[in-house]
């Protein structure tokens, strides 16, 4: 992990004073994650380069002693020792902390003066987002250039490397440069090596003081900086916006089609399904594939519904659902209405029986095609509720999602998506085989040619 800073001009050896590191004395520092070296590959009047080299211990990393939360975060085979990551940011604070703060008693004036500085960051991960480097550094006045290789020369078909060797050149104060690098490295490489807590918001705002609030991509910066902690990102953005002028968000990284309208469509879908449940007259409902229990929580607040069984095959999803519903402090009345359990839709399950209505919302497309017959029997033959509500994406509508590639599916786990005709045929097959009638409708904006984004079938048991 390597960072170099080059000062070009007159008496550039002075860089040593600014960094508080003697060009004639290579130094070594012990960090919790390994070692760091500071040395000067080049020293002359015209041009001086300082290098910060990190030697991360890969074994400690993998065995969970350093910077890992549960020991399993990092693999032995890992880019962490080599790529520029949050380790580098921490090292900068630790080793160039004084320079970062802009303090330099011996060369105060120089520290306050914008200089002709170049920084090179090696193996910085942008994940192939070729715009990112320019978006981040150009607004700060740098000239940006990035070198990139193939992922593996021997296999050109594997495409480009996710790393760049980044060079930024600008007329800035050294402390500014260091703060820019400190904040922006973790914006490139989102995987942090330490636990993120609330202090991190202060750190971001502190090191971003004077430039981050006016950065056109500040929201993207905050979002990527707090990758896993969305709430922190929101709070940081709020603070940034409150004292800066309003700039429109130009961030477009969320590229999957459905995401654009996901929130409203999902809410609309749940609302529609809930209404269909109520209309069926059902008092007991089973939410098959409940996910995080969005539908279930809607149903729980309906007086008509006396019993809701919510099941999902994923235990971790159920845990999230329990948290989301605040199951631990849910009032007794409501809790008695709800039964949350792990279940599989491809196994016959006696617990599915005895409900008026089953909801299968955006679930079947996650089941392997060869297992669909087992699903059909589990629900329509064995559980056999009076009403079954099934929703699934309408594949034709995908054409409306600008950012989706042709023939791709809306979600990585989807095994298929049906056209309206395919869905209709399937409902007919169900009705014939299991003795149901079915009414098909759409959910979401209706495109004249392509239909609605979601299709819904409400099955009613004959007789």
């Amino acid at each position: 992990m390597l960072l170099t800073i080059t000062y070009e001009g007159e008496n550039t050896q002075e860089l040593g004073f600014l960094l508080h590191k003697n060009p004639e004395r290579p130094q070594q520092f012990e960090l919790s994650c390994g070692k760091a070296y500071v040395f000067y590959p080049e020293v002359s009047d015209k041009r001086t380069t300082a290098a910060l080299l990190l030697d991360i211990d890969p074994i400690d990393l993998a065995r969970g002693k350093t910077g890992s939360r549960d020991g399993g975060l990092f693999d032995y085979v890992n880019d962490r020792p080599y790529a520029a990551t949050s380790f580098m940011s921490t090292a900068i604070v630790r080793i160039f902390g004084t320079a970062m703060s802009g303090r330099c008693d011996k060369r105060r004036e120089l520290a306050d003066t914008p200089l002709n500085l170049t920084a090179e960051i090696f193996s910085l991960k942008d994940g192939g987002d070729t715009e990112l480097a320019a978006q981040m550094f150009e607004p700060l006045g740098y000239t940006v250039s990035a070198e990139r290789t193939k992922l593996d020369d021997k296999f050109p078909e594997w495409g480009i490397s996710p790393y760049i060797n980044l060079t930024i050149k600008g007329n800035v104060r050294l402390s500014e440069l260091l703060n820019h690098i400190y904040v922006l490295i973790p914006v490139f490489d989102k995987q942090k090596h330490y636990y993120i807590d609330e202090d991190e918001i202060k750190k971001l705002l502190g090191h971003g003081e004077g430039w981050l609030a006016n950065h056109p991509y500040r929201e993207k910066i905050a979002r990527r900086y707090f990758d896993a902690k969305k709430s922190y990102a929101r709070r940081a953005i709020d603070i940034l916006l409150s004292d800066g002028e309003t700039v429109s968000d130009t961030d477009n990284t969320e590229s999957e089609g459905e995401k654009e309208i996901r929130t409203p469509l999902n809410a609309l879908r749940m609302e529609t399904v809930k209404n269909a449940v109520l209309e069926s007259g059902a008092e007991s409902v089973i939410d098959l594939g409940c996910g995080e229990c969005r539908l279930t929580s809607l149903l729980l607040s309906e007086q008509q519904i006396k019993k809701v069984t919510a099941c999902d095959v994923s235990v971790s999803v159920l845990e999230k659902a329990a948290q989301r519903l605040h199951l631990d402090r849910m009032n007794q009345y409501k809790k008695n209405k709800l039964n949350l359990m792990q279940a599989s839709l491809t196994y016959r399950d006696k617990r599915f029986e005895g409900h008026d209505c089953a909801c299968v919302v955006e679930v079947i497309e996650h089941i392997e095609t060869v297992r669909i017959p087992a699903f059909e029997r589990a629900v329509f033959e064995f559980a056999c509720p009076k009403t079954v509500i099934v929703t699934t994406p309408n594949r034709e509508y995908n054409a409306n999602y600008r950012n989706m590639q042709e023939n791709s599916l809306r979600h990585g786990d989807h095994r298929f998506e049906w056209t309206r005709q395919e869905f209709k045929s399937w409902t007919e097959h169900i009705c014939e085989k299991f003795g149901y009638g079915c009414v098909i409708s759409g959910i979401g904006e209706n495109d004249e040619n392509l239909g609605t984004p979601t299709q819904m079938g409400v099955f009613t048991k004959n007789g």
Binding site: E42, I59, S123, L151, G159, S161, Y163, V313
Partner: protein, 857 residues
């Protein structure tokens, strides 16, 4: 003086009845095991610390009845030691016995009141008032008469201390218990008066008629499943034949619903003359009163079901639920006669039946009749062998324990069926896995390891993986076990070395081992049927495919079915050419293989982890080395560390040296992973190296040595089509230094260019030290190869030293359990056991795979 004998069934619910101080507790303790006796005093103590607290009786009895039910669930004799004087208390006991389908027995201690009064005075800690004792005595005396009517099947009353002293208790076997009967049986389905066919069938089965009575020269016995008469043309003859065989000890029989109806007629009750009974009656009436009397007694004496052969076989006319087996009650008898009906009738006016066999999970085979079908219907270890002879079908016998079917076709249709005979459907319910069997703590018994427990959270993880990713469970007759590496090497510069692998086996008494080259690919299990029809018949696969290639976690290996088909097609061509199908007399096979290239399945991992790490490493290390070199050249006078006082000073030349090593390491690492990657342009670019012939029809090859597997694969599969490649192997004598050394040499040659290494196996498929099962294989991985496991720099001295401490215990325990489950599921499948029994084993392997284990091992 004769003993006072109390005879009760060995499994029943016994109520002690007697007032306080009547000596119930000492009686119970004298005749029953202490675990058999549930005393109300004990449970009072349990709920409130005071055995005499009447106020807590409610809670105490709740607990007592709960315990009683648990014992009865497990078919254990249970004695309720309470006064049981109140009719309400006895009613509760009778209700439990009916719910549990066991007989209730009452033992009454009706001792003279003055004795009780005296005893009471001697027990100051209780000391009930006199009137209580008097009341109790009176209540006991009064209840005796009504006990039978209340529902107690057996009632015994003890009236005096002398009688009490002289009592003995005999536990009798249940009527249905014929567990000690082990003779081979020919179980014969519904006859319905088809005596010609019955005689032909007995003939075919090898029975000989002597003095009019059939018997088998080899001592086999016939077992008749009831419905002897009605609809056919020789009803009385069938009765004669069956009664003679049963009475002479050549057969056993259970009654059918038709027989019971006949009995009603013979007892003079009114019956509807429907379903062909009129014919029977006409024939019997012609035979005269003696025959009628004999028939009535015969039918009356029949037991509704029999449990035979150590509990491994149950026969009954209409089948039996698991929880009814070995029990006796009116409900059980009804079930055995009529099956499970809803009480509704269908459009033909026939009773609507529930399919109890779908839920049957008992270990005993149940053979039954009652429902006529075109063929025998087998499901979850139950067999319905009524093949509708009287309707023009055939009369079928199941030969036990061979489980072969022998039948004779009906000579004609004697009776028109009301609705068509049941078809065998592909989609029966037993084919659907039921979640209740899997979402709980599982206990699996295997041949290799007696018992394997799978915890609930692991089962939950397996359920998720099975549901979301696995192939059709019908295909998953085997999941390969995980494999442990050898212990870490004591040699410098090696993390793993063959010496430790050999030593593992040698020190455990295994002299001969086999070393097989480990191909660096992905584990793939291949099942191939000769035709899609075989796949349907044998595996229950209905999508028209004839085979599958799946990963070690049960996922289909190829997303593209064409690739799979093409590979399976080529395998079939090879096996047909070499005559495998004929030589092994099978139409399917299951192979354990390694499929290459690794990059085919590990594409995601390589592009997201392996290649980027190499790329980032090579880039940043080469720049770091450049920078260091510049800095070193700049400071002309070599740095002298010890002159400087600050601990932070560093010798850059040493750092440079270290970074040059790192650069070298990362280059070797890149070389290592590249070795296992190639781009597949067409089918010819795949390589499959089979190393076990796991199973084919009728056989699991876990008894064969590894050399047999290798040679069989050479003879029948590899070396013809370049896709199917041989696995090089050598045999090693672990006691012979030379042999061990040359094997180490062999390994070094395999691995010096980055080869993955080898697998060391005991020469036999399974090996034990004493009773202890040994690892079926340990792997020994190459030095260069391990860079892609432990990181590019793992061989650096500092790193290697730390890496050498690792624990293998967990991995090895898992390997043994998974290995046992794998062999078990194959043998269950080969034996034709139901889907849920096979699935349970694969499910178990997946569950264990969810255990957190160091993934580098």
């Amino acid at each position: 003086m004769d003993k006072f004998r109390i005879e009760i069934p060995e499994f029943c619910l016994v109520a002690m009845i007697g007032g306080t101080s009547s000596g119930k507790t000492s009686f119970a303790n004298r005749f029953f095991r202490h675990t058999e006796v549930l005393s109300s005093d004990f449970f009072r103590g349990m709920v409130c610390d005071d055995e005499n607290s009447q106020e807590h009786s409610g809670d105490a009895f709740d607990l007592l009845y709960y315990a009683a039910n648990k014992r009865l669930d497990n078919m254990k004799l249970t004695v309720i030691d309470a006064t049981n004087i109140q009719s309400k208390a006895r009613e509760k006991i009778i209700n439990i016995s009916r719910e549990q389908n066991v007989h209730a027995a009452a033992i009454v201690l009706n001792l003279p009141e003055d004795i009780l009064q005296e005893r009471n005075k001697l027990r100051p800690e209780r000391n009930f008032p006199e009137r209580v004792i008097r009341q109790h005595s009176r209540d006991v005396r009064r209840c005796i008469k009504g006990l039978k009517r209340e529902g107690f099947r057996f009632v015994y009353v003890i009236n005096s201390p002398e009688q009490l002293e002289n009592t003995e208790i005999i536990r009798t076997k249940l009527w249905n218990d014929k567990k000690d009967m082990h003779s081979p049986l020919d179980i014969i389905g519904d006859i319905h008066g088809c005596c010609d066919e019955l005689e032909m069938l007995l003939d075919k089965l090898g029975y000989v008629r002597d003095n009019g009575i059939y018997s088998h020269p080899q001592g086999r016995k016939a077992a008749f499943l009831g419905d002897f008469c009605d609809r056919g043309n020789r009803n009385a003859d069938v009765l004669r034949l069956v009664m003679d065989m049963v009475k002479s000890g050549n057969a056993i029989a259970v009654p059918g619903n038709h027989d019971v109806k006949l009995l009603k007629y013979l007892r003079g009750k009114n019956i509807t003359l429907s379903h062909g009974i009129d014919k029977t009656i006409a024939e019997i009436e012609a035979k005269g009163d003696d025959f009628k009397k004999e028939t009535a007694e015969f039918i009356d004496g029949l037991i509704s079901h029999y449990v035979l052969d150590d509990g491994k076989l149950v026969i009954s006319h209409a089948g039996i639920k698991q929880e009814y087996i070995g029990r006796g009650s009116a409900r059980v008898r009804e079930f055995c006669l009529y099956g499970e009906v809803t009480g509704e009738t269908d459009s033909y006016g026939l009773p609507v039946r529930l399919d109890w066999t779908a839920d049957y999970r008992g270990r005993a085979n149940v053979v039954y009749g009652h429902i006529a079908g075109k063929e025998v219907r087998a499901q979850n270890g139950t067999y319905c062998i009524d093949t509708g002879c009287v309707f023009g079908g055939k009369l079928t016998a199941l030969r036990y324990p061979e489980k072969e079917f022998v039948s004779v076709d009906a000579l004609k249709q004697y009776y028109e069926p009301i609705k068509p005979l049941e078809e065998n459907t592909d989609e029966n319910m037993g084919d659907m896995l039921t979640v209740g069997d899997f979402n709980k703590k599982l206990h699996i018994e295997t041949q290799l390891m007696h018992s394997i427990d799978i915890h609930e959270n692991n089962a939950a993880a397996a359920l998720e993986i099975m549901s979301r990713f696995a192939a059709d469970p019908h295909w998953l007759i085997y999941l390969p076990p995980t494999m442990s590496p050898c212990e870490t090497s004591s040699l410098d510069g090696y993390l793993e070395h063959p010496f430790e692998a050999f030593e593992y086996y040698r020190s455990r008494g295994i002299r001969n081992v086999v070393c097989e080259k480990k191909h660096m690919g992905s584990r793939a299990v291949i099942i191939l049927c000769r035709t899609p029809e075989t796949a349907m018949k044998r595996f229950g696969i209905t999508d028209g495919s004839r085979g599958i290639i799946y990963t070690r976690t049960g996922r289909r290996f190829f997303d593209n079915p064409d690739t799979e088909n093409a590979l399976l097609g080529r395998l079939d061509r090879v096996m047909t050419e070499t005559g495998f199908w004929n030589d092994f007399n099978t139409d399917w096979v299951c192979l354990d293989t390694e499929l290459m290239p690794w990059s085919e399945k590990a594409q995601g991992l390589i592009r997201s982890q392996y290649a980027p790490t190499g790329n980032a490493g090579a880039e940043s290390l080469s720049h770091a080395a450049d920078m260091l070199e510049k800095a070193c050249q700049r400071s002309n006078n070599a740095f002298e560390v010890d002159k400087i006082t600050s601990g932070q000073n560093v010798d850059l030349n040493a750092v440079l040296e270290c970074y040059r090593n790192k650069q070298n390491d990362i280059e070797n690492y890149i070389k290592a992973y590249r070795e296992y990657c190639w781009t597949v342009k067409n089918i010819d670019d795949y390589r499959i190296a089979p190393f076990h012939v796991l199973a084919c029809e009728g056989r699991v090859f876990s008894e064969e040595k590894h050399t047999w597997h290798m040679e069989t694969l050479r003879k029948y599969i590899t070396g013809i089509d370049p896709v199917f490649m041989e696995t090089p192997y050598i045999c090693v004598d672990t006691e012979n230094r030379e042999s061990v050394d040359s094997a180490a040499e062999w390994w070094i040659n395999l691995t010096s260019d980055g080869g993955e290494g080898m697998v060391v196996k005991p020469e036999t498929f399974t090996a034990r030290q004493g009773f202890k099962l040994l690892q079926p294989a340990v792997k020994c991985r190459g030095r260069e190869y391990l860079r892609i496991i432990y990181g590019a720099e793992y061989l650096e001295k500092e790193h290697l030293k730390r890496l050498k401490s690792r624990s293998l215990n967990r991995k090895r325990t898992l390997a043994l359990k998974e290995f046992s489950l794998g062999v078990e599921s194959l043998s269950r499948f080969v034996k034709g056991e139901p889907l849920y029994r096979v699935h349970e084993c694969s499910f178990g392997v997946l569950a264990f795979e969810s255990e957190p284990v160091d993934p580098r091992l």
